[in-house]
Amino acid sequence: MKKITLKYFAKLKDDIGKSSETLEIEAKTLSDVYDFISNKYSLSLSKEFLKVALNDEFSDWDTEIEDSDTIVFIPPVAGG
């Protein structure tokens, strides 16, 4: 079990109803974490449209998480 912090923004914050949470999770990669969260909150946001950040830097879905990581799923930004 790893203890991680999740922060939510924009559409995700609205859908989940909070801006952050800390939880203990049995997950290997960032992708696994999103699958867990998506299932927990019945999210309809496709992973293919999201980016992911690990400890305030952009990361890849395959990256493995560690204890006390901060993770953010990033919905499409406002653009032009």
Binding site: K7, F9, A10, K11, K13, D14, S42, S44, L45, S46, F49, L50, K51, A53, D56, E57, F58, V72, I74, P75, P76, V77, A78, G79, G80
Partner: protein, 142 residues
């Protein structure tokens, strides 16, 4: 330098920070809240940012611009919170010896800000609706 502002952006104050006796050119870009988007009448909007990541990424963007173009300084400020029509959402100012570098750097910065920084815009429409821009198509049926 890039930072977020929770208050109205003051363009002349920012411009004056870039005054430099050796610079012959100054170019600035302002992104304004406009009253329409994709056919819908906009009355206000909220900007929200993942600030820690945005600040890290903005530093990279500014360093890239300084490597690519011969400029002296770059200042950029992005507004956060509730904005009204005509408010400045984002400001980018650049000075350089020759004008071409200022134009190129300024456009590079705003283009990169728009695609790379985690900043989101929620629009409020005259008909009472509202929505996060660019996230209307990010859903799938489970």
């Amino acid at each position: 330098m890039f930072y977020f502002s929770y208050e109205k952006i003051n363009p002349i104050e920012l411009r004056n920070k870039l005054i430099n006796k050796s610079a012959g050119a100054f170019v600035c870009f302002e992104g304004w809240v406009r009253d329409n988007n994709e056919g819908k009448e906009v009355i206000a909007l909220d900007y929200e940012a993942y600030e820690e990541l945005a600040l890290n990424e903005a530093k990279k963007i500014i360093n890239e611009a300084k490597e690519r173009f011969k400029v002296f300084d770059i200042i950029s400020v992005h507004r956060i919170g509730s904005l009204k029509l005509e408010d400045i959402a984002v400001w980018v100012g650049v000075n350089s010896r020759h004008r071409k570098d200022s134009f190129l750097a300024c456009e590079y910065i705003i283009n990169q800000i728009k695609v790379r920084l985690p900043i989101w815009k929620k629009e409020y429409y005259i008909n009472g609706d509202s929505g996060w821009v660019n996230c209307e198509n990010c859903h799938k049926i489970h």
